[in-house]
Symmetry: C2
Subunit: 411 residues, 2 copies
């Protein structure tokens, strides 16, 4: 029996980030930046007005006091699209729009509501400090500075600054391409009419959705039958289009369970019993891809849906995060108080679908859903966490502290 830790170490040793690519901004959103982004120009490139108003030299309005406005002639209007800054005449004002180049000699932009909104001359009613209403050159980014560090996930504000810098493409780790291949003679497609002896494929759509939720570009391949030749061909077909392959089902002890026979001779794939519940049976390894630099990690997950999802959470998700270039591979785990007692299989790390409630300040409580020794998909679909109990425990008592692995929120 292999420990979860040893298995995870083997998985992560094989999960290398996808080679960086220059992709257009719209595709870069949600990816991890693969190298420091330095500003090719400063933004703004020169001092501009931060709002609509009157640009002037602050000394010209130093005498403004309540009931004693200062009046200045207005020399020009300047819009945000003006090509070059004007030169301010002494003791004059220039009407400027937000974003307009600050006239040379001006050091302040008096906001419109502090004035009489004059066009030929303007009355300034309130004093404004030097620098107010001005965005200095380089306020948002200074030429040459790192504006987004390598390893950062590109969200809205990172796409915003890259756009402001005029960039079309960013060098990122592209989203991993994942193929999910369900295996089994008993499986039928969603929507196919129910038949005796057939079950609808749950793991294909479920694991595809799970991989997409990690940011992968995932699709489900057609169900493969328990036939060695057909399965080998299906795997070869899918390998060329995958950065990671997930096979589910066909892992049992029976003569029809073909996955081991087909995968074992491929690359470094090995099959282990891992000390976890539900689950245990797990295949993992890498297969070289012709003409490609990185071998492709392949997972063979159990056919039981809850066991498959636990194995996905424990092994596949961290691997996908590593392939996508994330530094942080793991979900949040909290310490929570168990609200019920339950039995734990000896020597195995137990994962129980559970309801987690509570707050950072008030502490967390975790309640198992369904039968912890015989986990079921209905309970998993209602869970927002897994209660995780260590290998040495044989029982959880109400009030015990256990770990809770926090899943994506429900709503």
């Amino acid at each position: 029996m292999r420990s979860i830790q040893d298995q995870l170490q083997a998985v992560l040793a094989a999960a290398r980030p996808v080679h960086p690519l220059d992709v257009v901004l719209a595709d870069a959103a949600g990816c991890v930046l693969a190298e420091d982004l330095r500003a090719p120009v400063s933004i703004p490139v020169r001092a501009i007005a931060a709002h609509d108003g009157y640009a002037l030299e602050s000394g010209a309005i130093a005498q403004v006091a309540p009931g004693r406005p200062v009046v200045l002639p207005v020399a020009h209007d300047v819009g945000a699209d003006a090509a070059e800054p004007l030169r301010l005449a002494p003791a004059h004002a220039v009407r400027v729009s937000s974003g307009a180049p600050l006239p040379v000699g001006a050091d302040v932009v008096v906001p419109v509501p502090y004035t009489d909104r004059g066009t030929a001359r303007v009355e300034v009613h309130r004093v404004v400090a030097a620098g107010d209403g001005v965005r200095a050159a380089g306020t948002d980014a200074r030429e040459g500075d790192v504006v987004i560090a390598s390893g950062v996930r590109l969200g809205a504000s990172q796409i915003g600054i890259a756009s402001a810098l005029g960039l079309r493409r960013l060098r990122v780790h592209p989203k991993p391409r994942v193929v999910v291949l369900p295996v089994g003679d008993e499986l039928i497609e969603a929507g196919a009419p129910p038949r005796a002896g057939r079950v609808h494929d749950a793991n294909g759509p479920m694991l595809t959705t799970a991989a997409q939720a990690v940011g992968a570009s995932a699709h489900r391949a057609a169900i493969a039958r328990d036939d060695r030749t057909a399965l080998r061909e299906a795997i070869e077909d899918q390998l060329v289009r995958a950065d990671l392959l997930i096979i589910t089902g066909g892992l049992g002890d029976g003569p029809d369970d073909t996955v081991r026979d087909v995968l074992a001779p491929l690359g470094t794939v090995r099959f282990d019993h891992v000390a976890m519940s539900p689950g245990q049976r797990l295949g993992f390894g890498t297969v070289e891809k012709e003409g490609d630099r990185e071998p492709v990690p392949i997972f063979a997950l159990p056919g039981d849906p809850v066991a498959a999802m636990v194995a996905f959470e424990v092994f596949v998700r961290p691997a996908l995060r590593a392939i996508a270039g994330y530094a942080e591979l793991f979900r949040t785990t909290l310490s929570a108080t168990a609200t019920a007692e339950w039995a734990v299989p000896s020597g195995l790390r137990q994962f129980v679908p559970a309801t987690l409630t509570g707050t950072p300040g008030g502490g967390y409580r975790v309640t198992p859903l369904g039968d912890p020794l015989h986990t079921d998909l209905g309970s998993l679909a209602r869970a927002n966490a897994f209660a995780v109990v260590g290998e040495r425990a044989t029982r959880v008592a109400a009030g015990d502290a256990v770990h809770a692995l926090v899943l994506d929120s429900h709503g």
Copy 2:
């Protein structure tokens, strides 16, 4: 000046969930379920083997003890794809694959490793309790029971159980369609060569990414110029394809600022100064769409990128969550200790790009990025939170408790 609370109330009153639609499972992933989903059948539909092994009646192995195995004749092999359960002969065993129908009369499946793996007869070495290795009918879902409640976001495990039930389509609130329309003569597209008096459009790509991160199907429209007729046409064009429209820029006091003139006569749109910093200027209302039942909410956000993102976070994101059918509309807000002092504009709620560090147990610390009175896009791109300071404060001292609005993680 309008309070944030009053403005938010007006926004949420107009943000109604998109009408439910039946969509295929692959498109339902990530959407909110619009009505309780009841299981049309039980899964499993009948008792099945939970793993490979030997199905038998537990009384037949009650006498098993260390060194004293019980030997039973093996009557049949049954695979997971068998159409009908067999009837177990008394004191016999049936070899079954995981998922096979449990023979009538059997109440246990002895796992293969507890046996000698016999085919004509089998030696059972370890006693197993009645019910072990059996998945009773309805273990995952019982016919008629609610398996996913209305209002739940459909993640991997919900797609899993819907697939297991054989469903092709689910009734969901479809993803809101969002159009982002940047306005301004000074704007040029990302990648266009820099020119004096022109700035690259940051808000279009940024707000589009932000809307996508909330789960919307968002796209950026072509930049609209400061021309009333052209802007009116652009808005009318985009309204037919949007469940929510975001206009950004063109909100100033100058003669070229057209957004107010064009939007004010439309539907219920009104323009306010909202008591927040950065930001303040905000247009919001709804416009009737021909042939459509729900009027379309329209936001007019400031052209300043940080002000636009703050307005997005405070008003647009909750509206999008409401339209997508979520019950929980708001991001997590934590109490955090300020690590620096800074000034707060009087009478306004202040949002400062900030670095949030800490843990639920150890408390949180928040450090402002850039100049809190003059927020900048470079700081926002490095932030993982906004420090939020209430309207009555005029200063934050190091050590003060402030709110931190937690943004999406960086990596």
